[in-house]
Amino acid sequence: MLTPDLHVNVGSLRLANPVIAASGTFGYGLDLDDFCPPEKLGGVVTKGLSPRPREGAPMPRIAETPSGMLNAIGLENIGVDVFCRDKLPALRERRAVVIVNVFGESAADYVRVIEHCESEAGIAGYELNVSCPNVSAGGIQFGHDPRTLEELTARCRVVTARPLWVKLSPNAPDLVGTARAAAAGGADAVSLVNTILGMAIDPLRRLPELARTFGGLSGPAILPIALRMVYEVHLALPELPVVGLGGIESGLDVVRFLLAGATAVQVGTATFRRPGVMLEILAELAAYCRDQGVERVATLTGALEARDA
């Protein structure tokens, strides 16, 4: 067998392979160049960008948990201007597939980030992070109320022709409802999942381990939950491309998400433990395809067999 064809199409976006670096775990694309050059990946999602730079949350921001971690970074970022000025040119030169992760405290914030990016070449698409509180709507998360989410998506949709992904929150009361809302608002794909709300406590100091009390759980601990959610959304909305993530750390994990219905995947926390992990994952994925006689990785999407039982 020849080398397997790893390319996938997420809607209209063609990726050389299905492994994308997840937002907030790969810096602005070149921070881990010595371990994992971004152009070798299917794509890289930037750290979430807001209209202006943000300081982020107070320390401590991270806590370790069994097979996972909590974070409350508070969306620290350099702002979209500085990104476009200082980071994007090098990524463009490297022909990396760059997806800008966008967030804001109001719909106008989201639109502003996208509009700023629209004048730049070398951005392949946008991913809306809707897990932050919507300040204008009184702090309710954009991602929890389907109506608010559809509106937000629609407002972003009109300002760009580039691929628009919405990254869903696993904490939403109605996951499929939010996925449907994203699609109705014009999203080309949904990414799921973002982190799951959790908490850690230091029993000796009797304090929450994070300054913000709550944090988002990521890593292998959440994989079974994320996989179930990808499966549920794919089952309910088979036409909507899903980018699956949550705890992926091996080529077999990628296959699991593809079989559950994902078209592509993202790798987040695994990079913290092994900064070059995505290259290993790609090698494992290719080996799986060779061993199993899979000529085109795209054929794995949704190819889960049914249990007789």
Partner: protein, 271 residues
């Protein structure tokens, strides 16, 4: 371009340093990039994910045994991650990411440097003394500990300092060995007695680093400190390890540090 790597290694040697500290030597499967004293590694066992993150350790020295490159780390047991390598048998396989971060400014070598070590802050400074032994630099090593039994390898430290033409000054909080008091007080005394340095390099608990910075300011000697903060990635992408700077911003300890000019830190908030 930065050269960091993620390498497989084997726990090859272990020895006890003090009742709470031990030394481990890892033998690598492949060549390791050259390290600057003050740089660190993220260490974790190859098997399993408890604890989930690697743990940060300053490089105490590098070498070779047979044909394999080796690295020494010194570890103080404070929790599950640090306890691990005390329990796992020799031969246990590890993953080591590094060398990471910014080290001490060894090039050009300072003329005369005070190395100020608080407890388990010793490893990067011992590594520095060894590295500077080939240069004109004279290194005095201030070795602090709570009590005599917790002084880490005083003989070896003395030899390392003397190899540079410098001296060892052991200091204990309770006076059971060397001078009594804080290690930064001993430094202050030597300066008051007329001893001169062109650089002060310190590693240890935050309050000690602050005190070292203040001593440097008083005597107009540039101070570099090696900071510690909880780390998930160690490579600059999680933003979990920030420390506030005096200009109201902050740095990532793992990437802009761990070694920084002490005067840049907002010690009030950081301590």
């Amino acid at each position: 371009m930065v050269t960091r790597s993620d390498l497989a290694a084997t726990l090859a040697q272990r020895s006890r340093l003090t009742p709470t500290c031990y030394s481990v030597r890892f033998a690598f499967d492949a060549a390791i990039p050259t390290a600057v004293p003050g740089q660190f590694v993220m260490l974790r066992p190859e098997q399993g994910d408890r604890p989930f993150w690697g743990r940060a350790y300053s490089i105490a020295g590098t070498g070779a045994s047979d044909t394999q490159p080796t690295m020494e780390l010194m570890i103080k047991t404070v929790g599950p991650g640090t306890a691990l390598w005390e329990q796992l048998p020799l031969g246990t396989r590890a993953r080591i990411v590094g060398p990471l971060g910014v080290g001490f400014p060894c090039l050009p070598a300072p003329r005369s440097v005070a190395l100020v070590a608080g407890g388990i802050g010793l490893p990067p400074l011992l590594f520095a003394a060894h590295r500077l032994a080939g240069t004109d630099a004279r290194c005095d090593l201030y070795l602090g500990a709570a009590t005599a039994a917790e002084l880490i390898e005083p003989q070896r430290c003395r030899a390392a300092a003397e190899a540079t033409g410098g001296q060892l000054f052991p200091v204990t909080d309770d006076g059971t060995a060397g001078e009594a008091g804080l290690v930064t007080e001993a430094l202050q005394h030597r300066l008051a007695e007329g001893r001169r340095y062109t650089a002060i390099w310190a590693c240890g608990p935050m309050p000690m680093l602050r005190a070292a910075t203040q001593v440097g300011e008083r005597w107009d000697v540039p101070v570099h400190v090696a900071l510690e903060e909880r780390m998930a990635c160690g490579v600059g992408v999680c933003l979990g390890c920030i420390i506030p700077t005096s200009d109201g911003a902050h740095i990532r300890t793992c990437s802009e540090g761990p070694v920084v000019d002490g005067s840049l830190i907002d010690w009030e908030t950081a301590c």
